[in-house]
Amino acid sequence: MAGLVVLMFVVAICLLAPVYAHSVAHVNPFSSNLQGTTMINGKRVQVLQSNTQGLGFGVTPIGPTWNLQHYFLGADNQGRDVFARLLYGGRNSLLIGSASALLCCLVAAILGIAAGYFGGPIDWVLSRIFDIVWAFPIYLLAISLSVVLLTTGLNVGPLHVGPGSLLLPIFIIAAVFVPYVARPLRGIVLSLRQREFIQAAVGSGASDLRILWKEILPNVAPSIIVFFPLMVAFDMLTESALSFLSIGVQPPAASWGTIINDGLGLLYTRPWVALAPGIMIVITAVSLNILGDGARDAFDPKAKLRGSI
């Protein structure tokens, strides 16, 4: 329950990002603001402040003001409001994490159930595909796909996804995690296939589709539900890693990974730029993990499936 509450809070404040940016802070978090100013303690100051000490070199963005109306967490090196970007970044991170987890679980359920139920050549082919994908280190595969697709975009038949689209990381992350979900589901279905109630359904002349829909799916669904929040956490972390490497969400759009990347160059002077999204990732991932554990206990208390990040 605690996990769900924290998660809902994070989701809620991220959804309020446009309200914060436009009505509270009055900033555009996607546009450089190198010559901009803001108010601190009644004084108008530059968002990027020139050094006046020593030889006078260097320009440093303002740090946290802890005032929601004026650069609450300070500015990044483009003079953009870090807190506003943090909220917008959370939207993208959560969107990519949940959408890719949903897509991954959907595809994995179809393939895993098909492999386990039909067996034979279908199982052999699908299992070898899982093996091949599984053979690659997951981040290496995700990075390779991202680097290629970020240059050309995804063009498959009538499907055209531009290089900067959020759909790209969603597809890539979903694809690389499919075997991690499909494999255990295949095992569950293989086991179910031998159970008496399935044999009875086959013996009574029920069609494959009916057996899959009425008998197999209801028994596999709890496992998928348990997997889902864990996969959201996994996928969100993967997205952050890719964005940190500049091959996920593309600027000026933000995700927690891109903000950490932005903050890397400011670690010595403005550590909050990198720390804040890092803290948000930890909070969200832990709450999703707790939620996943709760879902497992609720839906499948005897489950052997255990997963955590």
């Binding site: 010559q35 050094n51 006078g56 070199f57 260097g58 320009v59 483009q78 600027p251 160059g265 010595y268």
Partner: protein
């Protein structure tokens, strides 16, 4: 030459002009500069140790006749020699050309078209082989065989160069380079007088290499040289190592002085932040990369005595591809010139004490530079800020609004920050901009090749030698544009035959009237920016070198910047 990918170029000196002026008037041995004059005094007590230099990425090929990066040109000063060299001292004298592997400055005859050198005897390559006139001949031929970036703009005036440019593999420079092993004479014949030829022989492209050097880019394999140091190993992902050349003996301290460290290591792969910290802690001696702006405040207060700041004649600019949408439309190029806030770019570089905004192609203080600013808020000869309203109107009028634009930058912090700013500006005036950061190892060649369809990029140009042609002719003439090649230094792809003719006129005039020629160069600058605007000039930077407290004897050449081999390791 750009700096990050770090390319740079160097051009004519007053000294070299006088060489040719004298030569045209009468056939005399050039006495513009000689090895007499200022030079470093070697202090053996400071010799020894390993100098540790840090760069986030390697600088590409190690071949001195191909590589065009400041990163390696600084190292080539201690590893390779040409017939001539720029004097290795600090200050203005570093623009002087002095004899290096030649015994004296060339004798120039035939109305400035024939240069006769005598090769020094007894100089050896780092592999023990003696340097001969055959090596000189082969090295000049090799410039064409390896497709030297400036083969078509600098060395094309050598007799026989036309055939070499057409068929590089069979290049002989017949009639262009004539050598006599018996007398050790090298005669170079030009098709027309070139006041900058001595400078072009003095940069690393003019390095004399063994005749056995491969007739292709040597890549990561070191080619033996004659300098005080030799490259011993090169792994672009890890380290470049220089050790003393055991066959080296000082023949001219002005051209190739003895160095101090026993070994020089350039280590790759660290972030710039980490590099700065290592130098602060005395774990390394010097950072090659531009210092991150967030560390500058700290450095300029706590480590002021270890910072060395020197003015440069250089420019950071945005070359726009004049042959590719949307920037094949003049109004689109005008719009971006109006939209970019050059002062904002200066802030990303570290503030107004480290850079000044520029509107011209030729940097302030450079021969031919004229103060003017066409694309400006209000009128005037100085920069007053952007005019976004005008920019938006121009984009709308051009019919290019809504087009996708990709900006290609190097992936270091300063370049990427400027790239993000440009992206933001492009989005604000009606384009859909994306940023494409690439490793410095490949970005400069990538943006030159038309096959990569680069619309706009961020690049830098650091003078090869102080002559207007080094910016205007090299970067914006038809001769510098080679579609499909990685060595097409005219990145904007701007080609205007009328402008080229005017450049030729200025070059010819520079032999007899340098001031008159510079006026024409100034007009060309204004004409290119005023009628075509193929670039957005951003700012002219200063060079900041940050050395550790354990490093001594910092010496700065206005030609090639910090002398790496003259540093003391304490």
């Amino acid at each position: 030459m750009n700096r990050i990918s770090a390319w740079r170029r160097l051009r004519v000196t007053v000294a070299s002009l006088s060489v040719v002026l004298g030569a045209v008037a009468i056939a005399v041995p050039s006495s513009a500069s000689s090895s007499s004059g200022p030079s470093f005094t070697y202090q053996p007590s400071h010799a020894g140790g390993t100098l540790k230099l840090l760069a986030s990425t390697a600088g590409g090929t190690l071949d001195p006749q191909v590589n065009y990066t400041l990163q390696y040109w600084q190292l080539y000063q201690a590893t390779y020699d040409g017939l001539l060299a720029f004097r290795k001292v600090g200050g203005a004298a570093s623009f002087d050309v002095v004899p290096d592997l030649a015994t004296a400055m060339p004798t120039i005859t035939n109305g400035g078209k024939t240069y006769t050198f005598t090769l020094r005897k007894g100089v050896k390559f780092s592999n023990g082989q003696t340097v001969t006139v055959k090596d000189v001949q082969a090295s000049l031929q090799r410039l064409f065989k390896v497709s030297n970036p400036n083969a078509g703009t600098w060395y094309n005036q050598i007799v026989g160069a036309t055939a070499c440019l057409a068929k590089p593999a069979t290049c002989t420079l017949a009639g262009g380079v004539v050598v006599n092993p018996a007398t050790n004479k090298v005669v170079i014949n030009l098709t027309s007088p070139d006041p900058e030829f001595v400078d072009q022989l003095a940069v690393p492209f003019g390095s004399i290499l063994p005749a056995s050097a491969p007739a292709k880019d040597a890549g990561t394999t070191p080619i033996p040289g004659t300098g005080a140091y030799a490259f011993s190993s090169y792994n672009p992902n890890r380290q470049l190592t220089l050790v003393r050349n055991k066959y080296f003996k000082v023949w001219s301290a002005a051209a190739q002085p003895q160095g101090y460290p026993n070994e020089i290591d350039m280590i790759f792969g660290n972030t710039v932040e980490s590099e700065v910290t290592q130098v602060e802690n005395g774990q390394a001696n010097w950072v090659f990369d531009p210092l991150p702006s967030d560390r500058l405040s700290e450095l300029s207060t706590k480590y002021a005595s270890q910072l060395h700041v020197n003015p440069l004649t250089a420019v950071w600019y945005l070359p726009m591809n004049t042959n590719l949408a949307p920037f094949n439309n003049y109004m689109a190029r005008e719009a971006l010139n109006y939209a970019i806030d050059k002062n904002a770019a200066v802030r990303l570089f570290g503030g107004s004490k480290l850079a000044q905004p520029v509107c011209t192609i030729l940097p302030p203080g450079f021969p031919g530079h004229v103060n003017y600013c066409d694309y400006n808020k209000g009128m005037g000869s100085t920069y007053n800020g952007p005019d976004l309203a005008k920019a938006k109107a121009l984009v709308k009028k051009s019919g290019t609004a809504g087009m996708s634009v990709a900006i290609v930058v190097t992936n270091d912090s300063v370049n990427e920050a400027v790239g993000q700013y440009v992206q933001s500006v492009l989005n604000s005036i009606g384009y859909k901009a994306t940023l494409k950061p690439l490793s410095a190892n490949i970005q400069f060649n990538y943006i030159q090749n038309t096959k990569n369809k680069v619309q706009i990029s961020l690049s830098q140009w650091y003078q090869d030698y102080p002559a207007a042609s080094d910016f205007l002719k090299v970067l914006l003439s038809c001769q510098g544009f080679h579609p499909g090649s990685d060595n097409s230094i005219n990145i904007a792809g701007y080609c205007n035959k009328a402008i080229d003719a005017k450049m030729a006129k200025a070059e010819t005039l520079s032999i007899s009237d340098p001031n008159g020629a510079n006026k024409i160069w100034g007009q060309i600058d204004q004409q290119i920016m005023g009628t075509a605007a193929p670039w957005v000039p951003l700012f002219t930077p200063k060079q900041i070198d940050f050395v550790s407290s354990k490093t001594g004897n910092y010496q700065f050449s206005r030609q090639f910047y910090m002398y790496v081999d003259q540093l003391w390791v304490k």
